[in-house]
Symmetry: D2
Subunit: 346 residues, 4 copies
Amino acid sequence: MYFASDNAGPAHPSILAAMTEANQGYAMPYGNDEIMDQVRDRLRDIFEAPEAAVYLVATGTAANALALATLCAPYQTVFCSPDAHIQNDECNAPEFYIGAGKLTLVGTGDKITPDALTAAMGDSPRISVHSAQPGPLSITQATEKGRVYSVAEIAALTDIAAAAGQKTHMDGARFANALVAQNCTPAEMTWRAGVDALSFGGTKNGCVGVEAVVIFDPEKAWEFELRRKRGAHLFSKHRYLSAQMLAYLEGDLWQDMARAANANMARLATGLRALPGAHLLQDPQANLTFAALPRAAHRRLQDAGAKYYLFGALDGDPDETVEARFVCDWSLPETEIDRFLDIAAG
Amino acid sequence: MYFASDNAGPAHPSILAAMTEANQGYAMPYGNDEIMDQVRDRLRDIFEAPEAAVYLVATGTAANALALATLCAPYQTVFCSPDAHIQNDECNAPEFYIGAGKLTLVGTGDKITPDALTAAMGDSPRISVHSAQPGPLSITQATEKGRVYSVAEIAALTDIAAAAGQKTHMDGARFANALVAQNCTPAEMTWRAGVDALSFGGTKNGCVGVEAVVIFDPEKAWEFELRRKRGAHLFSKHRYLSAQMLAYLEGDLWQDMARAANANMARLATGLRALPGAHLLQDPQANLTFAALPRAAHRRLQDAGAKYYLFGALDGDPDETVEARFVCDWSLPETEIDRFLDIAAG
Amino acid sequence: MYFASDNAGPAHPSILAAMTEANQGYAMPYGNDEIMDQVRDRLRDIFEAPEAAVYLVATGTAANALALATLCAPYQTVFCSPDAHIQNDECNAPEFYIGAGKLTLVGTGDKITPDALTAAMGDSPRISVHSAQPGPLSITQATEKGRVYSVAEIAALTDIAAAAGQKTHMDGARFANALVAQNCTPAEMTWRAGVDALSFGGTKNGCVGVEAVVIFDPEKAWEFELRRKRGAHLFSKHRYLSAQMLAYLEGDLWQDMARAANANMARLATGLRALPGAHLLQDPQANLTFAALPRAAHRRLQDAGAKYYLFGALDGDPDETVEARFVCDWSLPETEIDRFLDIAAG
Amino acid sequence: MYFASDNAGPAHPSILAAMTEANQGYAMPYGNDEIMDQVRDRLRDIFEAPEAAVYLVATGTAANALALATLCAPYQTVFCSPDAHIQNDECNAPEFYIGAGKLTLVGTGDKITPDALTAAMGDSPRISVHSAQPGPLSITQATEKGRVYSVAEIAALTDIAAAAGQKTHMDGARFANALVAQNCTPAEMTWRAGVDALSFGGTKNGCVGVEAVVIFDPEKAWEFELRRKRGAHLFSKHRYLSAQMLAYLEGDLWQDMARAANANMARLATGLRALPGAHLLQDPQANLTFAALPRAAHRRLQDAGAKYYLFGALDGDPDETVEARFVCDWSLPETEIDRFLDIAAG
């Protein structure tokens, strides 16, 4: 009953099989391996972006921080939501990679609205020399609260950014989960909607540790390569990153795993909605949600060894609710969800 | 006939087997996995350092840059050799992680001598406010030229550093190769000889991508953890780093692979010494060397597809020598070495 | 009628006279001049802090950024108000000097409350490795809105910071204005109330360009000197900074000028309160305030050449108010204030 | 008898008079003062560069570090001489402002030769991703050893840089001394010879504390302004920088003072050449030199209170020479030089 994070589950067996298969003889290091050529082609196909620059790194924070560093100058500020992973969960990595930049929090909650963005970003790339200058927009898709921006919502935000002379980065640590939740293509959800650089997640969705950075305008490609090396994120035995990513993309495995994770969350959500005294804090659109459950339910679940983030103390009125975060990964058995719901129900 | 680098060969099958075996169910992320507990214990045993802080990262540059960042302030300078990997092959990563520090090149060549270090470092941690202040010493073991510091040589250097109030970092990307080349223990080659922080290489010696950082004085442990996260080098699915390292240490596999690589180099060196018109630029002590071969030999080798770094043009007098670098990894078949020597001999 | 800023007025004549007097013969450079010895003694006397480290720089942003850099690690965050100069008016200088740190905005408005600080800072210096770690508190005295923290208010905040293991910085660009507004000593308003490092302003209060940094715990003194040099803020002909500061402190000129500036503001505020349709946004305690005036009044003032910051458009209903900021410096003639009020009254 | 540095002498009285004269009423802050408009015009005239961007800062290190930061990316390296001020006397300020860049030392000594530059810089702006990428050239005019690059020498170096895709910065802390030492114009010694950005020194040559940065290609102007503010080098009461610089340029005072300083050095050099047992280490071309004097002479001079940098101990054979650095400023009386030479002669 593991709902703490989608980064604690196993990788799909085919990912490790691909790594093992790649483990034959010599291969060119540092991204010059032949598997990487296939990865690049495949991602360009998937994104209908034949010119896109495509790179691999091993962590989502690296993908975000490096992508932002190519879009943001040290005297600028990134616009993101107060719930953004880059704000709360990267220990100043974006600021570090940008070279001492700033993050400006836009509005409240996980999803940025056009009004809040306009108010925060203004309409000019140059403001008074005394202030951090406006820099790129960064949005998370799916968000840290498990919600999804529609293509129209993305376009509305990138339009505001572009009108102010700024680029847009998408933190797609859960890109696959967001994609399969809607009826659109990868291109529609990114560059066709105005996204300039994408962190395309693999790790949370069934890989061992690999993320792609897709830069739709390849002008910054060489700068990205240098920043990746300078950040110590260029793998010598790069083939093992490539092999993961190729297996992940093969036969749309990436979408299959995301569908499985989202379906798990839907099953859990249905159960939680029906749980007496419990309620969801928002309807899950991808593979995570926040919900309030009675303390009594939490106590039973914790005693049974269920793992999830709990935002409150368990001593107190057993009927009062305490909020918690639940994440489902692709590998979670349905039986575990049902057992969880049974225990919660008491 | 691949002699270009030890980062182009395959990982040992048992490394990938261990990763595959670790790929079961849920595991605590971010270094809290149970395999990491075993890795920590094992490395503390190997180094006879029960208090040492032990961390894993995926690249050697990350290990070096993060270790140095805990030893060096932004207004200080690291002392290293002009051949040091941190100077030539890390695209300013040490400077970046230190926060805009400097590297000061000591003497000439790959091995730092006590006299050169004394001249460069002085004997006081404080000098004029106008200058970069002295900072830590960093030595590479085995060196970038394939030579090895003896325990006495290391101690002589760390004594000078300590007398000047400075710590010592060892870049041990090829630590295993250096260790098995001498009759000493890991503890003798590091903390007993005055080394404060070690980059303990795995990637070049048969792993997929893993390096340990061993900090013998654990006072900086928490700072290291924060810098690792801030540098985007903390793996969420950390168990796959742990599994590699545990398999690497298991049954002294790490030393076996290093012995194999060094033996390969010894075989190659013996052959090169006997090659008419060729000579070694130094006697190899680990798994790499530089040698001068007649152009004619190079041409035959290149035509046959041999891979190695060549420092000169191939058109010109066929009897004149051109220098080259040769690296042997653990997986190189003896038959390939012999074939190489045969072709070189013409 | 210049109310735009206290950094646009002249220096007190005695400041320039002191610089001219210092312009004789040779003097030791880089802060080793004899006048600096007197400055150090005088500031230690004024602050009843015989061990305090005392340094001079030429800009308030340098004082703040350098002081914060000695209190905050690159993986930490500074806690400040959303109105703080370090947040809005220093173009990422604090982040730059800290080495890519973060600023966390506490509560709303210019004055930090204990509740808001407790909520933001927590009670532990260590939190999850994923987040920016808590760092120092920075408060502005007088605030950017012209208000003043009482000694008790300061102590309440520094207590919270200290309980969480953090230091406190005070941005005293208008320290003198805050001091003369209350019945307390410099020591009471700083280290006795728990302040660890102070930016002691001179420039806005009648100097040419000089600020002192006073570090009450001198442990960080040498680090400060190195950071100042590295930031290019160590003056070679330092005597001209020293001479300014010594003249500023001489005979309590600094307090006299602050009293004059505050009195000017009090006169202006009295007039604005009496102005039909106008109101102050808060009662001024030092030498600046924000007020709302009818558009008609603004138009007359602008037409007459009055200078101040206006936060709204002048076309629209003439009876509607538009907010503005007014700052008085020591040199402002009372007649200019009266003229301003007459014109505003129409 | 002060020969320690040209930053220890007084400012020219007309500089302080100009500051005092500027101290009237209100002036626009942050470089928007009217005097700055005149400075900009005057420097553009002097350099025959009507489009040049012109900015003022208060220290030479700030001028150098900020200028370099606009020419060098964080993953690049600056090429400079081993004697360069930016290497030895700025406590990592260039590295800091560049954002963790590197300095590569070219050749030996104070003057860079074309051969050494070609060898160090190569001919391509892109090299292997593993290495710091080539960045700008920085030369010091006059050099730290008191020598001067001819216009042809400058052009030869900037040609090499330009052919490799790089810009050239000139550290002109002693620009005036170099200019009056040769028969050329400011334009000829800078942009016509290929210099892209100049630190135009004032402080060492009779100002209180002011340096101009002249960027001949104004494309980087706004970036420079932001970096200056971010570095905390934008003065609020900027008119006092402007007034210094305008007085410095007025009636070619800057050249007059440089001529006086150079003439002082020539007088000293003539005397030192004639001193028994002494010799110059190079012929001085500007206002500083290095010379070897017998210990006996040094002892007499030190006893008499002469100030200069001495590179050796005074106990030992009195006839043996010890090297020393001598700098003359504009204000040094000839009688002091003669007294110095008399005492040296014994």
